[in-house]
């Protein structure tokens, strides 16, 4: 049964051209990011001071920046950071959100009520301001960045998982597991979470672009990734500084960031339509 659900979803996904494009693009991008140290044409900080702000050419595909560094290389390395931050921070949000939502939905009653009230309250808070203060005051540590950005994103995940768990809880197979004395922990881990996986995957795919966007936002303001590291956000920000004389330095990182966000969003929408055909519209 569960096999046919995933096979059906797979076929539906393949019919959605934009989603397939997104999936292919993201897979390629992740592959390139992993291989960056071997395929990058120049070193990340290799300078050619005689060739600063060079136009795109055969030697430097995307041109060079104001310090004579190859922009193509920097975008590859920047992508590594942006995508890693996106993946790891989303992972943090999934872990927190899934555990929180599963407990809330499974225990139910008063606990559920209190836990969800807390989520409601936190929803109203603009976490990005806290993240900014956190980043400014506790050093712009990249590990802190993952955790802080992850913690801004878990609320919706918790709600989705809770809803799933509540509807699954009443199904017979859970009842059966309970009646033969399976421990609560195992029921949650073995039966509830795997069955609630579909919506979690969909929402995860949509969380990654928003985390990448938040990281770029912070880096643009100079509060995210610090030199000598660079993410797409920092590259865009330094592109803005020289856009009047060398607009391509702004264009390429901005284009890569937008294309990535575009792909992830379409993949997420496609997955949602594929996994939940009832919810699909137009």
């Amino acid at each position: 049964m569960s096999n046919s659900l995933w096979t059906d979803a797979w076929h539906r996904l393949l019919k959605n051209k934009l989603a397939v494009f997104g999936a292919v693009f993201i897979s390629l991008e992740i592959l390139i990011c992993i291989l960056t140290p071997w395929i990058a044409p120049y070193g990340f900080e290799t300078q050619n001071l005689e060739l600063t702000l060079a136009k795109p050419s055969m030697v430097h595909w995307f041109g060079t920046d104001n310090l004579g560094r190859d922009l193509f290389t920097r975008i590859l390395y920047g992508g590594r950071i942006s995508i890693t931050v996106g993946l790891l921070a989303s992972l943090v949000s999934v872990v927190v959100g899934v555990i929180y939502g599963a407990i809330s939905g499974f225990v139910g009653g008063k606990t559920d009520n209190i836990l969800m009230r807390i989520v409601d309250l936190l929803y109203a808070l603009p976490f990005i301001f806290l993240v900014i203060i956190l980043m400014v005051y506790f050093g712009r540590n990249i590990l802190l960045l993952f955790v802080a950005l992850g913690l801004t994103q878990w609320l919706t995940m918790a709600r989705i998982v809770r809803g799933q768990v509540i509807s699954l809880k009443q199904k017979e197979f859970i009842e059966a597991a309970k009646s033969i004395g399976v421990r609560t922990r195992s029921i949650i881990l073995r039966h509830l979470i795997p069955n609630a996986l579909g919506p979690v995957i969909v929402y995860l795919t949509l969380t990654i672009p928003s985390v990448i966007l938040e990281e770029a936002f912070l880096s643009f303001l100079g509060l995210g990734v610090q030199a000598p590291m660079a993410s797409w956000g920092t590259l865009i920000s330094s592109g803005v500084e020289v856009m009047e004389i060398a607009p391509w330095i702004l264009f390429f990182p901005a284009f890569m960031l937008s294309l990535t966000l575009f792909s992830l969003n379409f993949l997420g929408d496609g997955l949602r339509d594929a996994l939940d055909p009832k919810g699909a519209k137009d």
Partner: protein, 306 residues
Amino acid sequence: MGLKYILRRLLTMIPVFFLVVTVVFFMIRFAPGGPFSAEKKVSPQVLKNLEAKYHMDEPLIQQYFRYLGDLSRFDLGPSFKHSNRTVNEIIGEALPVSMELGLISLCWALLIGITAGGLAALKPNTPYDYIPMSLSIMGICLPTFVIGPVLVLVFGLWFNWLPVAGWNSWQDRLLPSLTLGFAYAAYISRLTRGGFMEIRHQDFIRTARAKGLTEGQILIKHALRGGILPVISYLGPALAGIITGALVTETIFNIPGLGRFFIESALNRDYTVVMATSLLYFSLIFLCNFLVDIVYVILDPRVKYE
């Protein structure tokens, strides 16, 4: 809905507000560095006087309660960095600027979004539908800090039509507000289209059509109220996003608004200004969500809050 619901919502704001005050207060105090650590070396005596002036020599917990006391009288204290200015004065100047930017952006978002979305829904699967909907995908995927510089580059530097920085004339308002409003216009156009498409097939619209109303009349008199609901519920997140996005927009266009003071004071460890701007942001966003919920209930009688 009733007074009871409104009161309860406002009451829940109090503990959250306290939580935010406490978290932000202790977070910035426990962090290394202080407002006087960045400056040139001052003599120990001067440092002592400075600390005494700002009550920094007291135990932290006493400072916390002093801050709460001042806050209850709406006194946000003196700024650490802008000497001779109180935080109230700074906020008094910066808040109207940010509010104006936010409101103009919201107007753009609603005006462009609802018009484009309505048009698309009226003529689905025609160029009136495809063109704005493709543009809206761009609007959603291009972040503010890409749209802003591109607009500056094209309209400010290449064509030289509009000013690229400052906040004096009405032309100064155009680029920043369009930058900030564009993404929300994009979302709103999609939501409007979706809302209208759904409502087109409902019975009361068919009745209206059977009575012989024109499509335009149906749209304005009957479909608008229901079709606009998804937009209204999106307004809460949209306002929060506009307030956050203003941080970047104000930086790009060099606008003397709240966002600039927030970033600057966070970097300078200007404790009182960080506190005040964060609290203001929290309150603004809380209030916006609250207002949106109320408008939603007024427009859609099916929704009830207990």
